[in-house]
């Protein structure tokens, strides 16, 4: 990789951002009355968090492998390094809540409970894929879980998510919508039109920016005038909040507040999770714009999975056995998933003309 550019700034993630502190406290603040029952709950919940983050990590690693083997085509954007955001966010939702995200969508698909086998099968272009092999890596979806999918036109899904929120309010439901995007996506016109309408109509939606410091290869301060992205909320009279996206407990606390506000009719929010991708933008990325050291620095100090596990060890919630058992299970699960993808059939030629229209003629 090239010499480190003066424009990169991993400090933003290596040193936890301000907001993250109180987030952490609240995190601990969770502990309450009946200690042992609470301990069991704590353990169960935190192991599940751990399991999901690790599952995402391992599935992504397997995905990268399959891509290099030529079994997955097109653009492939890995979520490695950002696991705490998807897992933290989804853990604050009820199943009916809606999720819409961009093409870097594998983590959300897994957090929303999609079967890793069906996810890999989609990337393999198999008919058993979550989208029948028609969408691929960038277009995973499971509408039955209100996971509306990943979208590949930057910013294109913001108006859609806003409309879903509008339909919720129109129908008097109390569901909320989470709309995930990257830092680079906040510069496009659809961001402005969507946030204005959401605030104007006080819609139950949270715009969640995963600020991983790069828009593809363009560093944050070269692509946006206000690098404190959460402050863009001010232009819409909307609350904004920034927090450490590498610490799953912090993510949970901050997202929970916004979700509650939205559910109680308090309207939309703009959240900014400070995070970092440990891999290139896509598998094709030569990463001229940052150095190996940049990546190593963050990975070694701020790996979200390590941060979570370590805290639970320190709190005496996890034992080495717990995490060992889980990673063994996940290893098997990933092998099974890959096998499922491998063995699944490709779509029949008939699939070509299916689903262009719901009604061929009307």
């Amino acid at each position: 990789m090239a010499a480190k550019t003066d424009t990169t700034d991993v400090a933003a993630v290596t040193t936890k951002v301000e907001a993250s502190q109180n987030g952490k406290e609240n995190g601990h603040g969770l502990v309450s009355e009946n200690a042992t029952r609470q301990h069991a709950l704590d353990k169960e919940r935190n192991l599940e968090i751990y399991r999901q983050m690790l599952l995402i990590r391992r599935v992504e690693e397997r995905t990268a492998e399959a891509y290099t083997q030529g079994k997955i085509g097109g653009f492939l954007h890995l979520y490695i390094g950002q696991e705490a955001v998807a897992v933290g966010v989804v853990s604050t939702l009820i199943p009916e809540d809606h999720l819409v995200t961009h093409y870097r969508d594998h983590g959300y698909a897994i957090a929303k409970g999609c079967d890793p086998g069906a996810i890999l099968a989609e990337m393999y272009g198999k008919s058993t894929g979550v989208s029948g092999g028609m969408g691929g890596s960038m277009h995973l979806a499971d509408v039955s879980r209100h996971f509306w999918g990943g979208y590949a036109i930057v910013g294109g899904h913001l108006p859609l998510a806003t409309g879903i929120a509008q339909s919720i309010k129109y129908q008097g439901k109390n569901e909320v919508v989470i709309c995930v995007m990257g830092d680079g996506s906040t510069n496009i016109g659809m961001f402005h039109e969507s946030l204005n309408m959401a605030s104007l109509y006080q819609l139950p939606i949270i715009y969640l920016v995963e600020n991983n410091l790069y828009s593809m290869g363009t560093p944050l301060k070269l692509h946006t005038s206000l690098t404190e992205i959460h402050q863009k909320a001010r232009g819409y009279g909307m609350p904004g909040d920034r927090f450490d996206g590498m610490d799953v407990e912090v993510v949970q606390e901050h997202v929970k507040t916004a979700v509650q506000r939205a559910r109680n009719g308090g309207g939309p929010s703009l959240l900014e999770a400070m995070t970092y991708r440990f891999r290139g933008h896509s598998m094709a990325d030569p990463q001229f714009y940052r150095t190996r050291n940049d990546v190593e620095e963050v990975r070694s100090q701020r790996d979200p999975i390590h941060i979570h596990a370590q805290r639970q060890y320190d709190r005496g919630i996890f034992t080495e056995e717990d995490t060992k058992r889980i990673s063994d299970e996940i290893e098997k699960e990933v092998i099974r998933a890959a096998q499922f993808a491998e063995e699944s059939p490709f779509p029949e030629p008939e699939a070509l003309y299916a689903n262009i229209y719901v009604e061929e003629r009307n």
Partner: protein
């Protein structure tokens, strides 16, 4: 049956469908307090309230995109884009989203929505006088309707609203005042495809749609006076495209003129002509003559503007040309 204007026919369709189905709502610029830039939704805000008649910000992508999202989650939005010239600002939402979601996610997502928009001209200048129906009709996943009569306007809009797919419904600003017989039956529905013979004739086939279909009828009447019987085919919808009536007609008349209001090169007339050649090659006594707008940005000055858009004279000249008279 009652004689009403194209504008009233559209208002009837919207009003009836909104009363029929709570899930139908309207969103667009100035459709409420202002009363609709072409007065189609005049009175709707008072009748249905601000929840179902939403005065949107000037945000074409937001208007269409939120409508798509609402449709994905079960509503039946009718989004209004003030004119087709601004619709191209929302093209990403229409082409990359509305048209693709059902297919791209393997059938999981449906987008039952209508985008109403308007073509037209009248000293509005280069940016406000364009026709883009050929662009929308090029895209698989969209249905594109271009009604010429009040009856079609009502019947096709009602079907579009009750449908399950995204429909681009293109009106014409110079047709709003045109009157015609329209059934007042609340279930008066017309298919979103299917061309029609508006006038029978044995000498030449005129293939067209929207306002040009009305103009063609007037030209045909004049041609009749000189003994030329023109058959006028109104395509009515451009996707799906129903070429059958036009082909049958050409097989009978052996001569065809295609007239459209958009620019000629790569415009709608190219596809209509190409398909006539492909499907009636051996029946054509002469090449199809295409009549379309001159290929210039629309000038403001009326003395120039009137030279750009096809008129009866140019159509009649084209008929003479194809008949070699």
């Amino acid at each position: 049956m009652a004689e009403i204007t194209y504008r009233e026919a559209l208002a009837q369709a919207l009003r009836e469908e909104m009363h029929r189905d709570e899930k139908v709502y309207l969103i667009g610029e100035d459709i409420g307090h202002y009363g609709g830039s072409y007065a189609v939704t005049k009175g709707f805000l008072d009748e249905f309230g601000a929840k179902r008649v939403i005065d949107a910000p000037i945000a074409e992508m937001g208007i269409v995109g939120t409508a798509i999202g609402a449709a994905m989650n079960g509503l039946h939005p009718v989004a209004e884009l003030m004119t087709v010239n601004f619709a191209i600002l929302a093209l990403d939402q229409i082409v990359n989203h509305a048209a693709k979601l059902h297919y791209m996610f393997g059938g999981q997502i449906k987008v039952p929505m209508v985008v109403r928009t308007v073509s037209g001209w009248g000293q509005l200048g280069a940016t406000h006088s364009q026709s883009f129906e050929s662009w929308f009709a090029h895209v698989p996943g969209l249905k594109v309707v271009t009604p010429a009569t009040p009856a079609d306007a009502k019947g096709m809009l009602k079907t579009a609203i009750r449908g399950q797919d995204p429909v681009i419904f293109i009106e014409h600003s110079l047709l709003y005042g045109v009157k015609g017989e329209v059934p007042d039956d609340e279930d008066f529905l017309l298919p979103l495809s299917g061309a029609q013979v508006l006038r029978e004739g044995s000498d030449v086939t005129i293939v067209t749609y929207s306002r040009m279909a009305i103009l063609a009828l007037r030209a045909a009447a004049r041609l009749a006076q000189e003994g030329i019987e023109a058959e006028v085919i109104d395509m009515r919808a451009l996707r799906p495209l129903d070429m059958e009536p036009a082909i049958e007609s050409v097989m009978k008349t052996n001569h065809a003129v295609v007239i459209t209001e958009d620019w000629r090169t790569l415009g709608t007339s190219a596809e209509l002509a190409a398909q006539i050649y492909e499907q009636a090659f051996d029946y054509l006594d002469a090449p199809v003559v295409r009549v379309a707008s001159l290929e210039v940005p629309m000038p403001y000055s009326k003395v120039l503007e009137r030279l750009v858009v096809p008129d009866e004279e140019r159509l009649i000249k084209a008929v003479h040309e194809v008949l070699n008279r």
